[in-house]
């Protein structure tokens, strides 16, 4: 995946609910992407998941503090990705339900299992 300013691609894909972000990308780092994405009100419901070889304690803390929902350290298995995605999307679902009382249907929701 080529990194682009998040504004460009995401707007064309309103159905995106989950972003998997590498730390090391050209143009902007995954961390910068998270910071940028968190400033946008319209992307508030997108789950941001760092997926990266960068596994230092400080980096994980920084990414979470900047607004990433989950952090997967490479290497990972398909099962791990599914589990992490389910976990953070479940949080997202609860948040949505809580904040917007049943506004879920418009997002299609997440069907795990």
């Amino acid at each position: 995946m080529t990194a682009v300013r998040p504004s460009i691609r995401l707007e064309a894909h309103p159905d995106v609910v989950l972003c998997c972000i590498d730390w090391n990308m050209p143009v902007m780092t995954g961390f910068e992407f998270v910071v940028e994405a968190r400033k946008r009100q319209e992307w508030r419901d997108i789950t941001l998941m760092m997926v990266t070889t960068e596994g230092e304690h400080d980096q994980i803390v920084r990414a979470l503090a900047a607004g990433a929902h989950e952090y997967v350290i490479k290497p990972f298995t398909p099962e791990i990705m599914l589990d992490k995605a389910r976990g953070s999307l479940a949080c997202w679902t609860r948040r949505c339900r809580h904040e917007r009382r049943g506004g879920l249907a418009s997002h299609g929701g997440w069907r795990g299992h």
Partner: protein, 252 residues
């Protein structure tokens, strides 16, 4: 043999012991097993080959939701300030530490002692060390929990000493008398009964009964039940998960 296997699992024994038999220079698995009676040195290798140590953090999630949403609040409502937990067949310790994390996160006033036991020396050692690989911490552990309770040292992540202090790991065979230190308010006995035949399951459940505190709670694996095996138990819904309690304890 350390465990009595359900019939139909013989092929498993055969395939898992074949490499050990070969490396010990035995003609086949049968003669290797005959040799085991006298060669105690091989016992641990056999245990490791025969058991699956598959586990993860907050495995199946529902038991931990029930613990947090119902079991622990009930104990606290009864005035309890200290809770004793037995994580039986704990493998590398993720289950026991997941309990410690749940309490640290949501019930900081509660003190806790957890006994984690397993048949395999190798996994008990690992549980005690409390050090996990990247792949292991990726499985079921939310990133926010990872940074809160683990310290990275080189390629491994080490559980915080204040959580490790609450857990004691010991080698223990479920076919023997239960570990001392009870009675336990909560017993986790998950994903191990599936390996036993019905008579052994019943024996193990009886032994668990004998160390369960009045009103205590048993968690079984998602594919396990007491129903049709030991009728002293009843299945109860607790905050979205299923738990087992002793029937006579209901009135208490």
């Amino acid at each position: 043999m350390p465990s009595r296997l359900e019939s139909g699992k013989e092929y498993l024994v055969e395939s898992r012991l074949a490499p050990l038999a070969r490396s010990a220079g035995s003609a086949d698995v049968d003669s290797y097993i005959r040799g085991l009676r006298t060669n105690v040195a091989h016992h641990d290798a056999v245990v490791d080959a025969l058991t699956t140590n598959e586990t993860s953090w907050f495995r199946d999630r529902a038991p931990f939701t029930a613990l947090k949403g119902s079991v622990l609040p009930d104990l606290i409502a009864k005035g309890r300030r200290h809770v004793k937990v037995w994580s039986a067949a704990c493998s590398t310790g993720q289950e026991a530490y997941s309990v410690a994390i749940t309490v640290a996160d949501d019930f900081p006033a509660l003190t806790l002692s957890i006994v984690g036991t397993d048949l395999s020396d190798r996994v008990v050692e690992r549980a005690r060390a409390g050090q996990y690989t990247q792949l292991e911490v990726n499985r079921g552990l939310p990133a926010a929990t990872l940074v809160k309770y683990f310290q990275r040292s080189g390629p491994t992540f080490e559980i915080a000493p204040r959580l490790r202090q609450q857990v004691t790991f010991r080698k223990h065979n479920l076919l023997d008398a239960p570990p001392v230190g009870g009675p336990y308010d909560v017993v986790f006995l998950r994903n191990v009964l599936i390996y036993f035949d019905v008579a052994t399951k019943r024996d193990v459940l009886r032994r668990v009964r004998s160390v369960l505190a009045p009103g205590g709670t048993l968690f079984l694996g998602a594919a396990e039940t007491t129903i049709g095996i030991d009728d002293a138990w009843e299945r109860v819904e607790a905050a979205g998960g299923s738990v087992y309690r002793l029937k006579e304890a209901k009135a208490a």
